[in-house]
């Protein structure tokens, strides 16, 4: 009997290995929610009520949906950037810093470039954010290809540098003197991303981000550089032998990747906060790694995974209110997703 079960499981699992990866992503999410449910039961609340409240808050009203989408927006943009870099096997964990760098540059352009028409001002503000992010990504990329310095360390460490620089700027030159707290003055109105859905904060940046996801899908699968990125990631040596200038490809990939993270910061500043605020990114750059991995580094799927994580963030306090389930349960779910995604990648590839 036992033997039969073992044989049966063995047969199943070998099939399981051939499971399409979208299905495994869905299973990961399901499993994470189930494990979250265990915690909710353990504290004596009802998982159905808790998850119900979470879903209602995240998607149950126009405003809730809008709030979910504006949270998804920076996650999506940074997640797209991370997907690109990871496809080239460049382990960028500096998206958080790149978001802040992008936010600062966007804020400076939005604050001080007077007299521009709205369209031009918004474009310049977002471009400044992209340049800020890209600049921050450039150095780790350069160190990687020139000196072989591990990019995980350089990108991670730069995060702290940038966040401190932002704090300095907000305590010093960029501070709004009229306000009691460390925030910059409001951006000029011409640098605000327009609101798309009346009476909510749903801004144009969300549509822009979704559009970019489609564009990047096309870029990865339909352009020469996209092909080269994939080839360099799959097997560096083979790509090199095949005539691809791998170092050059890595630098371009990282520039694009960090520009996207910078854009995430710019969109948050110009679309939501309308000023530079000290903690305007509550760890979007790190969460975006999970977003990218759960989306299997596929731009179109990253759209959905970013919405999922945004819904968790957005619905968390509603869940706390309605079902008396503390917010950290959400972090458990997020953590389980991350671990399981790592496991499923391990299962597919044998290693990261």
């Amino acid at each position: 009997m036992l033997q039969k079960i073992v044989l049966w499981t063995h047969k199943r699992t070998s099939n399981w290995q051939q499971m399409p990866d979208w299905l495994s992503s869905l299973l990961v999410i399901l499993l994470a929610f189930l494990i979250g449910a265990l915690f909710i039961i353990a504290i004596g609340a009802s998982p159905l009520a808790a998850y119900g409240a979470l879903l209602r808050a995240a998607f149950g009203s126009v405003n809730g949906f809008a709030e979910t989408m504006i949270k998804a927006c920076p996650l999506l943009l940074a997640g797209l950037g991370i997907s690109l870099a990871y496809r080239a096997q460049f382990w960028n964990i500096g998206a958080e810093g790149q978001i802040y760098a992008g936010g600062v540059c966007a804020a400076i352009v939005g604050l001080y470039l007077h007299g521009l028409p709205t369209f031009a001002h918004i474009t310049l503000t977002l471009l400044a954010g992209m340049i800020g992010g890209a600049l921050l990504g450039f150095f780790p990329a350069l160190f990687k290809v020139r000196l072989g310095v591990n990019e995980m360390i350089t990108t991670l460490m730069l995060n702290y540098v940038v966040i401190q620089v932002v704090a300095y700027l907000l305590h010093g030159p960029l501070r709004d003197q009229a306000s009691g707290i460390t925030i910059s003055p409001q951006l000029l109105k011409s640098a605000w991303l327009p609101i798309v859905v009346e009476r909510t904060r749903f801004h144009l940046g969300v549509l822009l981000a979704v559009g970019l996801a489609l564009l990047i899908h096309w870029f990865i699968y339909r352009t020469v550089l996209g092909y080269q990125i994939r080839a360099s990631g799959e097997n560096r040596r083979a790509a090199r032998v095949g005539g691809i200038r791998v170092n050059w490809v890595i630098i371009w990939t990282v520039l694009l990747s960090s520009a996207l993270a910078g854009l995430a910061g710019a969109v948050e500043v110009s679309g939501v906060q309308h000023r530079l605020v000290e903690d305007f990114s509550p760890g979007y750059g790190y969460l975006a790694i999970a977003v990218a991995l759960l989306g299997n580094l596929e731009p179109v799927r990253v759209i959905f995974s970013s919405i999922l994580f945004a819904a968790l963030l957005n619905g968390a306090d509603a869940m706390q209110r309605a079902a008396a389930v503390p917010v950290p349960v959400i972090y458990v779910i997020e953590g389980v997703v991350i671990v399981l995604v790592a496991v499923s990648i391990f299962r597919r590839k044998g290693s990261l």
Partner: protein, 334 residues
């Protein structure tokens, strides 16, 4: 083999949680009631912070008890998320939404503009709309009384004030405190520190310790979270102290003589009462002694205050309430 074990483990967990989920009690459906007025409160700190946020939460509870409203609150909402929290409540159709923050101006104005049919209350605000009322805590009266107390009780003739951020509401409290102090004791010197934060407990403590070092024997903590640090420092050094915003006796029972209460508890209950009675309008509620701002009771430290000082304060307090004495509102350094 390894993988199949993992699979077993995971599927086992799956099953277990499904079973447990099925066992969980269903949510009780609330019995249909007549529609209650729903009031929501958004806070940037915890409801038990012994100060700013607790004062507002107590106001909400009092409103619930007095006016039978249904209440909800969100605590620890950072400024970048403030507007989200307000919009959350607005889109759920709450009737009255209270933003308890001196610094969330745009969040309040934007949300109030987008939801003209919902009433908003901004505590410690400086701008109203048709659907947005404002509480202006007029703490100068109680602060003046606290100044009298400090002036009478100091032996070193050095008194310290550690403020949070220098905004109108804290400034008028500071100015009136100094006025009372000088009136009671022309010799007394006031050391002034603004730590530039309403949350930084450590900074408040540092500033208070340095004032104690400089010889201050009464310390007035004037603000929000940094007050906790101020009072802790005083408690450790056994130096008399005066709290603010809410009765802060609990923070350091050995030294806290009294606190300058800003009156949020009664103030918020008053506004909710007006709403329930259909009298809400976008007006400014000035909360002074007559509306619930006051000096807190002396509790166990009453014995440290001489009878004649207690009588003097009682007398001045009555004069203010009767309108015989008015304390100027100096809300900025000009």
């Amino acid at each position: 083999m390894k993988k199949s074990k993992l699979f077993l483990l995971l599927s086992g967990l799956c099953l277990l949680s499904i079973i447990l989920a099925a066992c969980a009690p269903a949510t009780p459906t609330p019995a249909a009631e007549t529609k209650k007025v729903r009031v929501a409160l958004v806070l940037d700190g915890k409801i038990d912070d012994n100060g700013w946020n607790q004062a507002a939460y107590e106001g909400l509870k009092e409103a619930e008890a007095q006016h039978g409203v249904e209440i909800a609150y969100s605590e620890e909402i950072p400024i970048p998320d403030y507007e989200k929290a307000l919009r959350d409540y607005a889109s759920q159709g709450y009737d009255l939404i209270i933003a308890h923050s001196s610094i969330a101006k745009e969040a309040v104005m934007n949300t109030a503009k987008d939801y003209p049919k919902i009433a908003f209350l901004w505590t410690d605000g400086d701008e109203t709309r048709e659907n947005l009322a404002v509480i202006r805590p007029m703490a100068q009266e109680a602060s003046y009384l606290a100044g009298l107390l400090a002036g009478k009780i100091t032996k070193s003739n050095i008194v310290g004030m550690v403020g949070g951020i220098d905004i109108p509401s804290t400034h008028r409290s500071y100015a009136a405190f100094e006025m009372g102090l000088k009136e009671a004791n022309p010799e007394a010197k006031l050391l002034v520190n603004w730590v530039g934060s309403f949350l930084d407990v450590a900074a408040g403590k540092e500033a208070a310790l340095s004032q104690i070092e400089a010889g201050a024997d009464v310390i007035f903590g004037n603000g929000d979270g940094q007050n906790i640090g101020v009072l802790q420092a005083a408690g450790e050094k056994n130096v008399l102290a005066i709290g603010a915003v809410r009765d802060q006796f609990n923070v350091a029972p050995n030294v806290v003589l009294t606190s300058v209460e800003w009156g949020f508890r009664k103030g918020i209950a008053e506004v909710v009462g007006d709403y329930v009675a259909g009298k809400f309008s976008g007006k400014v509620y000035e909360i002074g002694l007559a509306h619930g701002a006051d000096l807190s009771p002396y509790h166990e430290n009453a014995s440290k205050i001489p009878e004649d000082v207690q009588n003097l304060i009682k007398e001045k307090r009555q004069q203010i309430i009767d309108g015989k004495l008015s304390i100027p509102d100096i809300s900025s350094a000009q």
